[in-house]
């Protein structure tokens, strides 16, 4: 079973609440669930659509078409009918719907609160799937139980009325244990909590904000404190201060906000302060299309900061990886005392997936000293915070530890942290910091993840675009290499891995071939082709199949640029709705 439902309504009319409720309900039966929201940068007006997919098989990506369209108001029908292969359910304003639920009339007749309309329509939709009514009643009780009794009763009555629908589309049933449904940003948040993060500071920016909203929502259980700073520069500095004081902290933003944070990257690079930046990419340049997805900021992240210093860049692609890499980012930051970037994009950040297991993350502090220091510091001297070492990493006492006094400095410094302009010391400090790259490559799992079927053809991707590829993995004759670890690049090992492939292609959600151009700085690689999409939406599975077929006809050479199947300009441009 593999069912796709689209729920559409004008912004502010509750399409996402319905979508999230449906995702939770299907997951209760043990199905794998994906819920992918699309919306314009507006609070009222414009069309909000949430794509819900549930299946008894492993699923990875939303698809473009739908089996059921629930249209609240006529606009969803008007623009999504052409994407719907199955039935259309609508309220009375959708006169062409296959199944019209007279929600407004029923509400009036039974004297119910008008706000129950969405519960009524959801119930009708669930009735067509023969979904167990009791589960919905349980959730409605949970949602409205603590409120005014008449509101709860009104909602329960709406469930009854909705379930009077007699049309049956399919029969769903309990197929396994309930799974947790979380968005990518929630997975990043859970990873941060598992990684011992205690303080988060941010300035609101889509699509990173919802990570912080999640943390705020669970802050008392998680024991985390979230601060909304006056700007991104302050947000980064607050987290840096906390990390310096020994408390794991992070900030997060998107490309535009990160432009402001950039000066701090270089500072922690030189001061060797552990720091974690979460960056969820969206469509640029500049303000771009704020609520849509793209992977075009790799060079901004990699190039951020004047001067020459090591950093780590990670780009997880699934919710499992989002959790795991975010949690470990705090270990990496402390072990190597440098900035760590965890990249996402709107597609991964805001899409909901089911997940059933969270691996334990072991906390590692590396050479950050939390306990006492035995050696007494002679009068007038400082702790050798930037001591030259074999692995490039020096001990870092946190403030409050006796005999550890030193300065974290944005100026070049000597071993004892005092500012220097001595050329030899400068050279040695650069070399000390650069040694960390080799240490990281030696100690960490830095290789891309290979999905192999022993093909002689290879697809390479990064971040979220592994999802549509995994969706079609069984249908294509390609091995897949996913760069979830981006930098530092393990030149020798990766060159060994790619050597055996006759054909190499890249799949990226951008126009600048960011990953391909990036890898060419470090490894000997020549791509035969690229599949690119930069409309603002992720690559859909059927598009990838079609693109690979087209490429096959020309011996897998060249660039295949994907668009959308029809012009959706009007769909998200509210002043054209009317």
């Amino acid at each position: 079973m593999d069912v796709n439902i689209k729920v559409a309504a004008l912004a502010g009319e509750g399409a996402f609440s319905i979508g999230n409720l449906l995702a939770k309900l299907f997951s209760k039966l043990g199905y794998n669930v994906i819920a992918y929201p699309e919306y314009p940068s507006l609070i009222k007006g414009g069309l909000n659509v949430i794509h819900i997919r549930f299946s008894d098989k492993q699923i990875y990506s939303p698809v473009a078409t739908a089996d059921i369209l629930l249209s609240i108001g006529k606009d969803g029908y008007r623009y999504l009918k052409q994407w719907t292969e199955g039935i259309v359910i609508g309220d009375e304003s959708v006169s062409n719907a296959d199944l019209i639920i007279n929600a407004n009339e029923l509400i009036q007749k039974h004297n119910l609160n008008p706000k129950v309309k969405n519960i009524l329509l959801t119930s009708a939709l669930l009735a067509t799937l023969n979904y167990p009514k009791q589960y919905l009643i349980d959730i409605v009780n949970k949602m409205f139980g603590s409120k005014d009794k008449t509101i709860l009763e009104s909602n329960l009555k709406a469930v009854e009325l909705g379930y009077q629908t007699t049309y049956r589309y399919i029969n769903v049933k309990q197929i396994g244990l309930e799974k947790i449904v979380i968005s990518g940003n929630e997975a990043f948040g859970l990873g941060a909590i598992a990684g011992g993060m205690r303080i988060a500071s941010f300035y609101p920016m889509t699509p990173a904000s919802s990570l912080f909203h999640f943390l705020i929502n669970v802050r008392d259980k998680a024991k985390v404190y979230v601060i909304q700073a006056e700007d991104e520069i302050a947000a980064a500095n607050i987290a840096i201060g906390a990390n310096y004081a020994g408390v794991r902290a992070m900030t997060g933003t998107s490309g535009g906000g990160f432009a402001l944070m950039t000066e701090t990257v270089s500072m922690v690079g030189l001061a060797e302060t552990p720091m974690v930046y979460f960056i969820s990419q969206r469509v640029g340049p500049s303000t771009g299309m704020p609520t849509w997805t793209e992977q075009a900021d790799l060079f901004q992240i990699w190039g951020a900061g004047q001067g020459d210093f090591p950093k780590i860049i990670l780009a997880p692609g699934t919710v499992q990886e989002a959790y795991w890499y975010m949690g470990n980012a705090f270990n990496l930051a402390q072990k190597y005392q440098l900035p760590v970037f965890v990249l996402s994009d709107k597609f991964l950040s805001e899409t909901y997936f089911s997940i059933d297991n969270f691996a334990k993350i072991e906390i590692e502090h590396g050479k950050v000293l939390y306990n006492h220091i035995d050696n007494v510091l002679p009068p007038g001297q400082r702790f050798l915070r930037y001591k030259y070492t074999e692995d490039g990493i020096s001990e870092m006492p946190i403030p409050g530890i006796k005999n550890g006094m030193h300065i974290a400095s944005s100026y070049e410094h000597m071993e004892d942290s005092f500012t220097t302009e001595d050329f030899n010391q400068r050279k040695m400090q650069v070399e000390k910091r650069n040694k960390k790259i080799d240490t990281i490559l030696k100690n960490e799992q830095t290789l891309p993840k290979l999905y192999s079927k022993n093909s002689d053809k290879l697809l390479i991707c990064w971040g979220s675009q592994i999802l549509p590829i995994l969706e079609v993995f069984d249908k294509i004759d390609f091995d897949v290499m996913h760069f979830n670890w981006i930098y530092p690049v393990n030149k020798l090992e990766i060159e060994k891995m790619i050597k055996k492939y006759e054909i190499i292609g890249f799949v990226e959600n951008n126009s600048n071939q960011a990953l391909y151009r990036f890898l060419r700085m470090f490894i000997d690689i020549n791509a035969d082709f690229s599949v690119l999409k930069y409309t603002g939406r992720p690559i859909f599975p059927h598009q990838l199949i079609k693109a690979l077929n087209n490429l096959k006809d020309r011996n897998y050479k060249g660039i295949e640029i994907l668009g959308e199947d029809f012009d959706i300009y009007e769909l998200y441009t509210p002043w054209r709705l009317g």
Binding site: L190, R198, I199, A242, G380, I407
Partner: protein, 283 residues
């Protein structure tokens, strides 16, 4: 604490006669009087001549970025509220580059002390006008005299009802060190605007000029009306009278204590992971 414990082997590299020497001595004296262990103090600075202060006091320190010392200090303080956190930087650092942070630090009311070294000129970048340069001040930027008005940090902070606002003078170490001590002891954000001569780039506002004008105020700093009058006195008198001392003071809850309350302890001492508790809530 013996002041020798926070001395460093390095000698300060400031121009002879620079106001920074007096400020450095005042901070050291205040810390010695407060009997703080050097390991429990963090001095945070930005960029500028005065930004080098952490190098000459043997405590913990962070010499951060131009204008960004306040959020950095805030992060340190809320991570470990047991620490004494002092931020120090110049008027260019705090009022130009970091102006937005100064506006907002009063809202957080985090328990740190901020010493702003106000010499009305850019020193380290060799003599441009600064945000507190008075109208008419001749500089590299405006050789014919600065044509624009200065910002008014003390009235701004008083109008924001910052927890404690003071003015000090680098030429009166005894008074300044007492002010710093009181500011550290005060629970809440405390700001000290220290008037200091720049002997190299500002030949107008020298020691002699200040000596004639500064006086120790004895008004009631908890009375807002009186505080407002004193805060504006230098501007109202065309800089003929410059009050120093505590200008305004109030008591209100601090962010660092709020963090402790919310997390149930000092963040740096919490090492338990609460993932299971959160997953429980999601299920």
């Amino acid at each position: 604490m013996n002041i020798a414990l926070i001395n460093t082997n390095e000698k300060p590299q400031w121009c002879p006669g620079c106001g920074d020497f007096g400020i450095l001595m005042s901070i050291k004296t205040a810390l010695a009087n407060l009997d703080k262990d050097p390991s429990e103090v963090v001095i945070v600075s930005g960029i500028g001549c005065g930004g080098k202060t952490p190098h000459y006091i043997r405590t913990y320190g962070y010499e951060g970025l131009h204008g960004r010392l306040l959020p950095l200090a805030l992060g340190i303080k809320i991570a470990n509220p047991d620490l004494t956190v002092i931020a120090i930087g110049g008027d260019g650092d705090g009022l130009s580059e970091g102006g937005n942070h100064l506006l907002h630090i009063t809202r957080y009311n985090v328990d740190i002390t901020y010493i702003l070294q106000d010499n009305q000129v850019y020193g380290l970048t060799t003599g441009q006008s600064s945000p507190t340069s008075r109208k008419g001040f001749k500089s590299k930027t405006y050789p014919d005299g600065t044509p624009i008005e200065p910002v008014r940090p003390i009235p701004m902070l008083v109008s924001q009802k910052a927890s404690m606002v003071s003015a000090g003078y680098a030429g009166n170490i005894k008074h300044l060190s007492q002010l710093i001590q009181q500011s550290i002891e005060h629970k809440g954000f405390s700001y000290i605007n220290v008037y200091q001569p720049c002997v190299t780039w500002n030949t107008v506002n020298g020691y002699e000029w200040y000596q004639k004008r500064v006086y120790i105020t004895d008004h009631n700093p908890e009375d807002f009306e009186q505080a407002w009058k004193k805060a504006n006195e230098p501007y109202d008198t065309e800089w003929e009278r410059i009050p120093i001392g505590i200008i305004y003071k109030n008591n209100s809850n601090t962010l660092d204590q709020e963090v402790i309350r919310r997390l149930g302890g000092n963040p740096v001492k919490i090492d338990k992971i609460y993932l299971e508790d959160v997953l429980e809530k999601l299920r």
